[in-house]
Symmetry: C2
Subunit: 431 residues, 2 copies
């Protein structure tokens, strides 16, 4: 842990600096795989799966028999847990639906805005040691509510050529029809270009390692949108004497176990809390199966003490954490003072894990300071806003002269002319 | 004009292919300018302004005296036109405000979503022959409604070192405090890195030539968001015998005058309309000051006849036009059948110019097929959605066991532990 006492504003940037990844040697691999998938489609997918995932796949698509088997394999308790998470996530994202916005801006000028679904979306779900079936729910439920007509899910197969049953159960629960055993760069390439088996999509969502991250970034240069730019996961807790040190330590560790580059920060206006959390961290760390990973992240973690609540809040806002836990007496102050955070967890009984799995909020969030300009995944991530207008004869007569003047001043005579022709016709018909 | 008669579905992609720009030689210039601005700040801006805009600027910032002079210079009629446009754009974007979404997903589990403004935004407004003061309104009004606290506007100076008074009047009207005489790549670099005069922003909006487009794209690799990827402007009109051929021709020409690479398409289920529009096009073209530009775009324009309404609609949807005018008897069919369009103009008295200037809808729209996954600029472009949750003791007892099971199955023991600690404490205190 690295401890700081009332650091000055000029120090904040360097204290809270995030690790910057360099991808130079990965980039050539990404381009090579994309080109191969563009040229040879499914055949390339199978070859890369053999090379990278060390398994031979004849049929890339998961068939209904495998879905049924998965459902039968999974414990009843886990299925019920997934069902509970499904219900909460569904409720919260369903409530995000908005109705069409309609305004008659001038008499005879009707303007409205409607949201329509992105028709084709693709999800990348990491496999391997941590099969992220929770991410299936976080992406597929809002897509289902939005009404996306084609949903493609790609996930790398195990060495036995299978997919974790919880991933399949979650996908089936969300009505996903097209599930493929393909991972890594080749999965992103397949959803970008399309292959014999896999449909080309308009937007790709989901987490992944540095290869997947760079592949998604590369896909954006080929006309595909992505959910958001990625970076290591991060958690900032602000606490005072109201906070429970053991709970705070457990939250910091839940972040630390993600990876050695996870960002773990405690900001406090209470020195005692920093000492107590440090003791708890050491104690709890020893019990964790992933303690080697967590230890590295904790070694880089920051504990920052501030005398002033306002300084604490300003420092947090300058950082803009992905996950932000508030365990303070005056929680409203720390809610209102912040502009930049992905998801906010309030009070001693609101662990970050709740939002990761089952409370209902989405866990796909901006990291790396991108909270300053990006939203986390939400219902709108699967919709586009379109505008419409219908103008009556009276309407164009009311706003037409203003349009003519403005178009002329911008030097766009044909824009003016489109109005003038209509106004002249209306004048002629009146006379 | 290129005419097609009932083209088969397999031909649509090649008929409606958009021009693809290659930027290879521009890229090295972009990197050079960004590096210079990063290294030398304002000094670099002044040097590039001298080099590219051929004027020497001592003070990059537009001072209040210049704003007052602009207001006095502008004709009363044009000011009134801008004011009318302001009011309509304001009304339409103000109506897009939503209230906070709050759901108790499980008893004791309160989740809510709030939108907060992106604090720092930057606008690029092209200058030169066509000073796009209308774009100032389209960007600054929603930023004002969203509550963005810092708004920076960059626009290239004329050879006399001035800015068009209508740009200044529109900016003042929208309350923009920070206006700078700097254009091109160097303006985008300044808003990306910040200089002595110009604040670094989180998101950059606005149109520009290929240099500006590539600079914005490059900025996204440096942690800045942009409004959307850019491409040449485009218009598709669908018409039948209900359409007025002279009006349709005037709309197609208003698109064609933007540039020789503008996309101009007429889809019709009425052969007579195609013939009549072709005659009108030739006639109106001769009258235009920008006829040389428009001629080139019209030479590449497509006129597509379909027997079937459904084929027409499917073809339009596959293209996904930025601007989409419907002049058909059964307009509702052509509204409902389309998923992909930026802004839709309905009826004979709704020219595209109306939405470009004064009806109230935004004119910053996705082109190049990006209507399939991007929205046009709207109020939400200036806001981020953040989620919040507060869970009571009862709430964590209700959903905690599900979280424990899911975290364990994903191999994330510390995530489970953060819940277990809390549940154990509650159990202990109860006993």
């Amino acid at each position: 842990m690295q401890n700081y006492n009332n650091p000055s504003r000029s120090q904040w940037e360097s204290i809270l600096k995030r690790p910057t990844a360099t991808f130079d040697d990965v980039e050539s691999v990404v381009v090579e795989v994309f080109n191969a998938v563009k040229a040879s489609g499914d055949q390339a997918l199978k070859e890369y799966t053999k090379k990278f995932d060390r398994t031979e796949i004849d049929d890339l698509e998961v068939r209904s028999q495998e879905l049924t088997t998965a459902e039968n394999t999974l414990s009843k308790d886990l299925k019920q847990a997934i069902d509970l998470a499904y219900d909460n996530i569904y409720k919260f994202h369903k409530a995000q639906q908005t109705s069409r916005v309609e305004v008659e801006t001038t008499s005879g000028v009707d303007c409205w805005q409607e949201k329509r679904p992105i028709q084709k979306v693709g999800f990348y779900i990491p496999g391997g040691s941590a099969p992220l079936f929770s991410t299936v729910l976080m992406l597929a439920i809002p897509a289902q509510i939005a009404g996306c007509s084609q949903v493609v899910l790609c996930t790398p197969p195990t060495k036995e050529g299978t997919v974790h049953p919880a991933v399949l159960y979650a996908a089936k629960r969300c009505g996903i029809q097209n599930i493929y055993k393909v991972g890594g760069i080749q999965a992103i390439a397949a959803m970008t270009y399309g292959t014999e088996s896999i449909t080309k999509v308009y937007k790709i969502f989901g987490p992944g390692n540095q290869f997947v991250t760079l592949a998604k970034q590369y896909a954006t240069t080929l006309g595909v949108a992505i959910d958001m730019p990625a970076g290591p996961s991060e958690l900032l807790v602000v606490g005072d004497s109201f906070a429970n040190p053991a709970f705070v330590a457990s939250d910091l560790l839940s972040q630390a176990e993600h990876g050695p580059d996870s960002q773990v920060i405690l900001v406090s206006t209470d020195k005692k809390l920093i000492d107590e959390v440090s003791v708890e961290l050491e104690k709890q760390l020893e019990e964790l199966p992933r303690k080697e990973i967590a230890k590295k992240a904790i070694a880089n973690s920051k504990m920052i003490y501030f005398d002033s609540k306002q300084d604490a809040a300003d420092c947090i806002d300058a950082y803009g954490p992905e996950h932000y836990i508030i365990c303070c007496e005056d929680e409203q102050f720390y809610i209102d003072a912040i502009h930049n955070a992905g998801s906010v967890f309030i009070g001693n009984y609101t662990p970050e894990s709740a939002g990761d799995y089952a409370s209902g909020t989405n866990h796909t969030l901006p990291t790396n300071g991108y909270t300053k300009q990006y939203s986390g995944v939400n219902l709108d991530s699967f919709l586009k806003q379109m505008t419409f207008q219908k103008i009556s004869k009276k309407g164009i007569q009311a706003i037409g002269p203003a349009i003519e003047l403005m178009a002329e001043e911008e030097g766009l005579q044909a824009h003016k002319n489109a109005v003038t022709l209509r106004l002249n016709e209306l004048k002629a018909n009146k006379e």
